[in-house]
Amino acid sequence: MREMLGFTSILGFIVAFLVFMVMDPAFQLVYICIIFLVNLFIVSFYGLTLFDEKKMERSNKLPTLTIIVPSYNSEKTIEKCLRHVLAMKYPHVHEVVLVDDGSTDRTREIASQFPVRIMHRKQNKGKAASLNEAIKQAKGELVACVDSDTYPPENLLMDSVPYITPGMGAMTFYITVEKPRTIWQRMQQMEYFFSFGAFPYLGAKFNAVLVTPGPLTIFKRSALEKIGGFDENNITEDFEMGLKLHKSHYQIGYLPINVPTEVPPHFSGLMRQRIRWYRGTMFNLALYKELLFNDKYADVGTFSFPVTATYVPITIVSFFFVLARGVRFVYESGLQAAQFAMYGQMPSLAFDPLYIRADALMFLSFLLTYVFFLWISLSLIKEKIGWDKLPGLLMVIFVYPFVNAGFYVYSLYKEMRGSDLQW
C-alpha cells in the first residue's frame, strides 16, 4: 500500500512537470499571478501588524526555573553550551539538568566537569523522551529547554522571564546561526533571520507563533504537564508542541533576543535536517487539521496555520514549475547557442530595459518585500548589514528557494512512501 502511494506521488510529480513543460505562456502567467496574490496577502497581513503597538506587560515575579539540556553525542559543543548556560544570570535557577541520551562519545565525561546534574539514559530514545523524563523530575515553575549546540546569552533569562504572562505556555527567541563558515551555513544564517526574526516577531503580535524552536524555548511546567509533555513519536516535536499549546489555548510569546546555535555545515547534513523538518511539518499539519480555518483558535486557525498549510503545496508545485521552465530555458538557449556556433554567428547581446517581462516584474516586487522583511529582521537584533552577508544573501535568493522546494518534494515522497523516520 505504501509502495503504491510512493509510486503515485512520483507519477504526480512527473505529470506536474510535463504539464508545466507544455503550458501556454498565458496559463503560466495565471499561475504566477495566483502565487503572487497569495504572497501579497501574507505580506500585507504581516505588514499591517508592523503598526500594531502591543505593549508587553512586565511583571516583577521571577519564578523558579529548571534548565534542561538534552544531549546525544555532542562532545564538540557541550562544553561551550554548558559554559553559556551556567553563565546565565538568574536568581532562582533550581538546577541545570543534562540528559545524556545514551551517548557513545565523551559527552558525559566533559559534562561531569560542570556543576550540573547528569541524567544518564543507557538507551538512545530521542530528544522528546529525554525532555519528558527530565520534565517529570523538574522542580522549577519554568522549564528552559536548551539544545546542546546552542549558546544562550548571559542576560537571556532576566530579559525574558518577566515578560511571560499568565496566559502564555512558552516563550520563544530569535535563533541565529553561530559563526557561519561554509556557504551553506551563510545561507542558513540569512534564512534564520527571516524565519526566526521578522515573521515570529510580527506573528507574536497577534499570537500566531506556531513553533517552539528546539534550540531554546522556555516553557511553563504547568502547561507542559497539562498537555502531557512532548510527543515521543513525533519527528519534529517542537512544531507539534507549538500546535499542541495552541490547541489547549496557550499563547506562545516571542522576544527578539539573539540565541546562536550550530547549524549543519554541509549540504548532506542540511538535507537530512530539512527532510526531517518538512516531513514533520506535513505530518503535523495533517495531525492538527482541525485547527484549519477554525476561529476558535483566533489568528492561528484563520491565518498562521492555513498559511503554513498553503505553503507546502505551493512550494511543491512551484518546484516543478521552476524546474520545467528551467529545463525549457536551458534546452532552448542551448539549441540556439549550438545553431549560432554552427554558423559562426554571435547572438546579439543588446539589452533593452523594455525587454523585461511581466513575470520578471512580479518576481522583482516579490524580491523587494523579501529585502524589506530582511531589513526588519536585521534591525530587530541590530545586526549589521555588511558585504560578508552578500554570499549568503545571493544564496538565499537564488539557490535556497529551489533547493528548499526540492527538499519539500523529497519529503513528500518519503512521507507518502512511509519510509522510516530518522532524527
Partner: protein
C-alpha cells in the same frame, strides 16, 4: 474586530497587485509607443520610396534619379531586421497591449518596400539583389534567429543586398499570395532571385547567391 484585519489585508493585497499591474501596463505602453514611433518612420520611408519609384516611372529614367533611390535604400534598409527582432521581443514581453495591428502594418510595409525594390530594377540599371527572408515568430524556431543574424552580417559586408522580412504565421492577402507564388511552407526560408531556399543558408552561400560586391 478580528475580521477587519483580514479585510484591510485583502484591500492592501488588491492595491499592491494593481500597482504591479500598472507598472506592467506602463511598460507595455512604453513598448507600444516606441514601436509605433519606429514603425511610423519606417512606413513613411516606405511611402517615400514608393512615390519616388512612381515618379521615376513617369519621368524619363535617368541614372541620377536611380542613384537617389539606391542611396535611400542603402540608408534605410538596415532597419528591417532590427525592427523585426525588437518587435518579436516586445511581443513576447507584452501582457496587455496587442501588437497585432502594428505587426501587420510592419509586415505590409516590408512587402511594399520589397515590391518597390523589384520595380526599380525595371527602370534602373542597378546591380542590387532583393532577399526576402521568411521567419517564424515562434520562439522555438532557433534557426530563424540565426538566419536573421547571418543576413545582418551579409548585408553589412555586401552593400548591394537588400533584405526584407515576412512572417510565415501571419495571414494576409499579400503574404498568402507571395507564400503561394514562391512555394514557401516552412521557416526559415529565403527567396532570392526568384528562387526559394527552405533551410538555413550560411553566409558564404548567400554571398554567392547575391553575387556580393
Amino acid at each position: 474586530m478580528v475580521n477587519l484585519k483580514y479585510a484591510i489585508a485583502a484591500i492592501l493585497m488588491v492595491n499592491l497587485f494593481f500597482i504591479t499591474l500598472s507598472v506592467i501596463d506602463y511598460m507595455d505602453m512604453q513598448r507600444l509607443l516606441r514601436f509605433t514611433n519606429d514603425l511610423a518612420s519606417f512606413s513613411s520611408e516606405t511611402a517615400d520610396l514608393e512615390s519616388a519609384v512612381t515618379l521615376l516611372r513617369a519621368e524619363q529614367p535617368s541614372s541620377e534619379y536611380c542613384a537617389i533611390i539606391d542611396t535611400a535604400y542603402q540608408q534605410k534598409i538596415t532597419k528591417t531586421n532590427d525592427l523585426m527582432e525588437r518587435m518579436l521581443a516586445y511581443e513576447r514581453a507584452n501582457m496587455f497591449a496587442e501588437f497585432f495591428a502594428l505587426k501587420r502594418q510592419f509586415l505590409l510595409s516590408n512587402i511594399q518596400l520589397w515590391q518597390v525594390s523589384q520595380m526599380e530594377k525595371q527602370y534602373c540599371a542597378t546591380n542590387h539583389t532583393d532577399v526576402l527572408y521568411i521567419y517564424s515568430s515562434d520562439p522555438a524556431c532557433s534557426e530563424c534567429q540565426v538566419q536573421g543574424k547571418i543576413l545582418d552580417f551579409v548585408r553589412a559586408s555586401c552593400p548591394n543586398v537588400r533584405t526584407f522580412v515576412m512572417d510565415i504565421k501571419e495571414s494576409m492577402a499579400t503574404l498568402d499570395m507571395i507564400k503561394m507564388k514562391y512555394n514557401v511552407t516552412s521557416a526559415p526560408s529565403i527567396v532570392a532571385g526568384g528562387k526559394t531556399y527552405s533551410k538555413v543558408l550560411p553566409a558564404d552561400e548567400i554571398k554567392q547567391l547575391v553575387s556580393c560586391q
